[in-house]
Symmetry: C2
Subunit: 318 residues, 2 copies
Amino acid sequence: MTNRVTIVEVGPRDGLQNEAARISAADKVAFVERLAAAGLPVIEVTSFVRPDRVPQLADAREVFAALASSGDGEAGAASAGAGGEAGASRRGADTRYTALVPNLTGLREALAAGVREVAIFAAASEGFSQRNTNRSIAESLTAFVDVCREAQAAGVRVRGYLSTAFGCPFDGAVDPRRVGEIARRLRDLGVYEVAISDTIGIAHPGQVRPVVEATLSAGLDISEVALHFHDTRGQALANVMAALPLGVRTFDASAGGLGGCPFAPGATGNLATEDLVYLLDGLGYETGVSLPGVIDASAFIEPLVGHPLPSRVYRASR
Amino acid sequence: MTNRVTIVEVGPRDGLQNEAARISAADKVAFVERLAAAGLPVIEVTSFVRPDRVPQLADAREVFAALASSGDGEAGAASAGAGGEAGASRRGADTRYTALVPNLTGLREALAAGVREVAIFAAASEGFSQRNTNRSIAESLTAFVDVCREAQAAGVRVRGYLSTAFGCPFDGAVDPRRVGEIARRLRDLGVYEVAISDTIGIAHPGQVRPVVEATLSAGLDISEVALHFHDTRGQALANVMAALPLGVRTFDASAGGLGGCPFAPGATGNLATEDLVYLLDGLGYETGVSLPGVIDASAFIEPLVGHPLPSRVYRASR
């Protein structure tokens, strides 16, 4: 097994979309550029969704245009052909900037903005699929067929998220076999990687092996499996500890643990990038990410979101 | 390896001594009784130190007297002879109540108060030993010879803490062989267990194996090794994950993560009992501890310490 780990920085998208304070496009660009300078190899910058659904990300086009012209990453074009080799030692200019797209309209807007890598999403539970997208799982997968086809025709890579893979706020427990099945269907749509996601931060390490193994049994290669944890119950790093021996080498995280404030009920951030880097550095994994660089990015965004960021490593550094 | 894990609850001592708000003896007793009702098998209740050194714990005698008369645990007498079998299924009446003693004076006060189990401490680094106790490591170990002899003569069990085992704020890195050596010297004084302690919350999982193995190389049995983490950098549960496969089955924790507030610089709590129980429940270990019971104890103490407790599981429950 390789000792390289790829950290997918989702703070600008998954983090900021859960923050109440509105951040300007210019500040988002400055935040993303700091994250790129910290060596993060992949940054999910924004989401091309209907502005009324996620007002925080209504400036997706503007943000991408500014990033493309700044030369940092050229909207992912620099490494769009790099395949699965999400380089751990690359910096700034090699960072891949990605965007979430909920449908064909979103994909076309993303393509027009110069995005070279997109992410789609499905849920592992019907209850969440219905409430989040007003569609069944099968309907949402069908709707993504054209999205994936058009993305691939444009030479744009597609990542897949699989939400509520460790439990659903509406349906409760989720069968790992169901997770494997839908992960396989996403893979068959052409996604290069499935981010198995603990949307509500309920996963514990006892679930990690059965869920990851279910995706392998369904036919995915371990290199196609990423894990996406929220730290609602403080288990995110323990889950990473359970996943590393299985060979998982891609984890999502957000700078400072953006998206959550421990004292705001219901607001639960992603696994904090700083806490993950501290762990991986300690275990001798290579990420190419500079811890002080991430802390610098968090220190930039913290006053703009208007509350202390929950990352423990970040707080210990202040 | 057994799937029983013993959680040593240190909130009333290590937690409260780091809280600014003064808690009354009656409230401490009520807190400890809630922890016992939650099924915690061992609770470090207080410290018999000079009142001017730790004003928060100046009421140690009063607290112990109240606990002894309440019938919960009878100051540890109920199970003082249970040996290493710190029962995971025992409740209330079987909880062992312990106290820290810094010297012979403290031990005698503890004995007079009816304490049936005490803890002593040494540091793994000279810098911390000097600043914390004004003695070298060798001097502090020598001073504990009489403490251990007198405790044993009274039929009182002794636990040992080994501070700064993963790093020292004054001396920096600490050689695991040094940790093994001092752990062995504590064991040779007659302690039944050494709590290898990350006093400043700097440990990462990459350190856990070398440190634990150093104690085994020095002659300790794995059943004599406990681990004591602070969650300053969010690594505490990840460290537990690294320790479980090595056979470590005793971990210190504090309800709610007492002793730390994420937004108070420098204040860093212990690993939160709730977060540890959530992890161990998920992994299928038996602790005998009721998660709702611990949450109840935290909900009792939170308004008294006057700030939100940092435990993620506790916060997610509110």
